[in-house]
Symmetry: C2
């Protein structure tokens, strides 16, 4: 490839609407262009990286026995009705009608399509287990697309579906795929990935893991324990909060707390700690708009995902109290009036004494509430988030909280789809059985973006050799000098037969060429200049600046061959 | 791959709803399964063939300097409004709204997306010419999907777009791509492909060619001349119809023709030849529903596509005459009353004398109409179809008509998209210019289906080695005999390190295995049986039955290596 012909302008200025490093360099380096919110075209360098990532994924999927298939992007709604998801999934599922008025959806995940394909082809136990996968375009009508390729509406994804005759078999295969995922990230050069437990969400099933690329810009919170290795998404993480203060049970007392509506002001006003108060959070169910009132110890936060799981419905924070009996800022569990509301108590409240809480009366709170005494027959559930200073529930050591970007997820789905969609097989004894499933996803574009997040300097991406758009970048610094240009182009043709080479054949300044080379981020750079050629040499520099050496022209090919082999060995070691 | 694990059942019975050979074998061989009308999932063997075809296409596109990109499947309507196609294209363009109510379309072709991407990146003449291409999913809401992968709604397509600064440059590049297409079909093993002139249709532009795979089941009619090489789609083909009968001009005469409404009955009733009559065909414009009346010599047929081009609008045959002044069955050019209608005369009528035509009066026709005398100031255009017995307009020899399936098309688009979408560049003199474009498409699935149409016997496909799902198919005929099985599986592992191998490891009858092998259609078959192993041999058979020989076990690898090399050489010769 010649830079003069390469489609995709590079530029110096920081784009106005980008803050994530990967987003900035993808725009500045001529990798992606936005077509609509969350919808991008990929320019040639990005498409080259994409294909290399896809090939790594394909090889690892084949290695665990995967069979590549292709499902449609446009799926009939009838399939999603069979699984129940045509109704249960929100407006991120894009629905439309075709010219005949039939309902269709754009595939955002393909469990239904996988069962549809497999159920006609795997009617005997002898076919099991098997795994099918595809690498294809998906569409998810995200309300908040952002961060370049990090959160988009249209994306390329590898999605895999395995089918099993027993839970043990699913679990052992699930572990194999987990290992394959670890190999994929490693081979793609992404080092800082944590495997954590996650919510099963709209997928359903029992067990799920996410692969989290750890970085400050990440949109997910991750809880982990350095001692015992426990790691989970904040959405499902458990912890032991600081121990409560135990004392002698006192009598309930109403106190006047004019205009005091939040925990901090309340604790200060009454001279207690936040952990000596009971916090109320109010949500409403999306399906019927009925309120959900959640009580949690005052120093903890309510975790919306956990509440969703308890009430088994999507929820949203209630901001308009006018239609309820609730007294905003003064809601408490004792004497609560909330017609038709679900009331939920976090396990942090179990056994607490002498607590302050809302009196369900404007400008009044209660003191000395005793949970065992004043709140009888209450069931406690885990709906609080892990916070700073909490301990690991498994080993007691302090938990850490960090941020990350999800670069893959795997699920044990059980029979959620196979049962609802009537997939069966005959077992050894001729009995009809329902297979169980696992599913496994990786977003290709997001992985590409995270590789930049991990591998860059202030000038641009530093692509790992295994996914780099080209392996070698030749800069001909003096294209206007015929001899230099000819030597550079000869080298381009010679190296091009052995490596993937891009050559800067433009008659522009050295600074301009080198800045572009930094943005294109090719690992090995060969600089052909008038001065070095006088000694029959060129300069070989690695993009990460760890190597910078003059090499005789006749030795360049062997030198680069070694350099690339070393780079590959380092990644695969 | 083991046949025992391969997803995709094969079966003997002819599917009820399939008539095309490729459709039948794609279903029977476990290649595709329908998900909705014109929407299919690809099973592993079809996906493997698909990827090989894509790789051939990719290599040939790269060879003519193509840069691979990726455009979105979901495109904002605003882009299609810029080009005017959001309005002008019919309901085959699938339109929908996203969650925010904005209009989108599913990409059925990507001229708009290509200009959108290129216009920001190619602002100087130094970037030109360049070509970008993608291989991606497209959706076209076909009203009549049929024939398995031949006419579908969702399909994988390679679409390429080139940009130029002059018509000469476009033309010379267009020829390069034409040659690349010829190489693609050849390398994919498709021999019987004709390059013909075609209609530019909804794409616009001046010149277009189609690549037609010639076969009886094809849905397109192709006109060609064996003498001079002229070849064109029926939609645009020109010809010289049989010469008219010339005589002495006679006086117009009205004749009573009760109930005689078609040319054949009319000619018989009056004792003339159909070529001595004038036929009327009535259409209406889709944009304003106004009638279009077309007159053509009675022995010719009106070509709807040609009429569309003349009136510059989509049309449909008018069946309801109640709102017009037209007298169905008795329409004629003399004394025609047709308020607001466009009237078109085919060039076959130019100079004709003593013709019979409708009298625009129920149950009456006119005799002895002379076109030069009775129809003054008429402009003749070509709106007739080529028919049997016509001669080539270029060399005078008889034309032939055959049928074919379009497996590719290329267009010189001119500035249709670049102008409407304001794409410009600065030329050598610093002046703003509009580039011109070419576009080039190949449907991957349709190509796959046509390869089966050309390469099959009564038992299944005979895949060319270059696109075969596997290169070698080992049948272990006696899987229940441990020694035979072990030898077969050893061979599988040994050959598997050098070739793409599938092994039938099932404990089923020889007949069952061989029928499946025929449906999978792998070019080289190795039969491992108890009997042959007694002589230390296996049998090597090619799928086309041209080779059938016993080979010593230790010589199998070398033998197959030669065989495959020969097969490859034959295709690429």
């Amino acid at each position: 490839m010649r830079v003069s012909q390469l489609l995709g302008e590079r530029y110096k200025e920081k784009p106005a609407d980008a803050s994530l490093i990967s987003h900035i360099f993808l725009l500045r380096g001529g990798y992606i262009r936005q077509v609509a919110s969350g919808i991008f075209s990929l320019l040639p360098p990005a498409q080259r990286v994409t294909r290399k990532i896809e090939e790594i994924i394909r090889q690892e999927m084949d290695r665990v026995g995967g069979q590549e298939v292709l499902f449609p992007v446009v799926l009939p709604a009838s399939l999603w009705e069979e699984s129940g998801r045509f109704q249960s999934v929100g407006s991120e599922l894009l629905r439309f009608k075709d010219r005949t008025g039939q309902d269709f959806v754009l595939g955002m995940t393909h469990e239904e399509a996988a069962v549809h394909l497999a159920r006609g082809e795997a009617k005997s136990y002898t076919k099991y287990p098997f795994m099918i996968y595809q690498i294809q375009t998906k569409f998810r009508d995200e309300p908040r697309s952002r961060g370049g390729l990090i959160r988009v509406r249209e994306f390329t994804m590898k999605d895999a579906y395995s089918f099993h005759t027993s839970q043990e078999d699913l679990e052992s295969y699930y572990d194999e795929v987990l290992d394959a995922y670890v190999r994929i990230y490693k081979r793609a050069g992404l080092g800082n990935v944590k495997v954590i437990k996650s919510d099963t969400g709209m997928m359903g099933g029992s067990t799920a893991h996410e692969f989290m690329y750890i970085c400050d810009g990440g949109e997910d919170s991750i809880v982990y324990c350095e001692s015992c290795g426990y790691a989970a998404n904040m959405e499902v993480a458990v912890s032991t909060p600081p121990a409560p203060i135990v004392g002698e049970e006192k009598e309930i007392q109403e106190v006047h707390t004019p205009g005091i509506k939040d925990i901090e002001s309340l604790a200060e006003f009454l001279g207690v700690l936040p952990m000596q108060t009971i916090k109320a959070a109010v949500f409403a169910r999306k399906d019927n708009n009925k309120p959900v009132v959640v009580f949690v110890r005052g120093d903890l936060e309510v975790n919306e995902t956990k509440v969703t799981k308890v009430v088994k419905a999507e929820i949203y924070p209630l901001t308009d109290y006018s239609e309820s009996d609730l007294d905003f800022g003064f809601i408490g569990p004792v004497g609560l009036k909330a017609e038709g509301a679900e009331v939920i108590f976090d396990k942090s409240l179990d056994g607490l004494q002498n607590m302050v809480c809302g009196a369900n009366k404007t400008d009044y709170h209660l003191k000395n509430v005793s949970v065992p005494r004043d709140l009888k027959d209450v069931k406690f559930v885990d709906v609080a988030s892990v916070g700073e200073g909490h301990s690991c529930s498994f080993c007691g050591n302090p938990l850490k909280i960090t941020r990350g970007i999800e670069v893959g997820n795997i699920f044990q789905l059980g029979d959620k789809y196979t049962k609802s969609m009537n997939m069966t097989y005959l077992d050894q004894n001729g009995r009809l059985q329902t297979p169980i499933m696992g599913c496994y996803g990786i977003g290709v574009g997001r992985l590409l973006a995270c590789i930049i997040e991990e591998h860059h300097d202030q000038y641009g991406p530093i692509w790992p050799i295994t996914v780099a758009p080209w392996q070698v970048h030749i800069c001909i610094l003096n294209n206007n000098v015929e001899e230099v240009r000819n030597t550079g182009m000869d080298l381009y043709h010679k190296l091009g037969s052995k490596f993937e080479v891009i050559v800067d054949d433009r008659n522009v300044s050295a600074g301009f060429q080198l800045a572009d080379a930094d943005l294109i981020g090719v690992p090995v750079r060969v600089i052909v200049s008038k001065r070095n050629l006088e000694n029959g040499e060129v300069e070989v520099v690695t993009r990460d600046k760890s190597t910078k050496v003059n090499v005789k022209l006749e030795e360049v090919e062997a030198f680069i061959s070694d350099l690339i082999a070393k780079m590959e060995a380092e990644i695969n070691s």
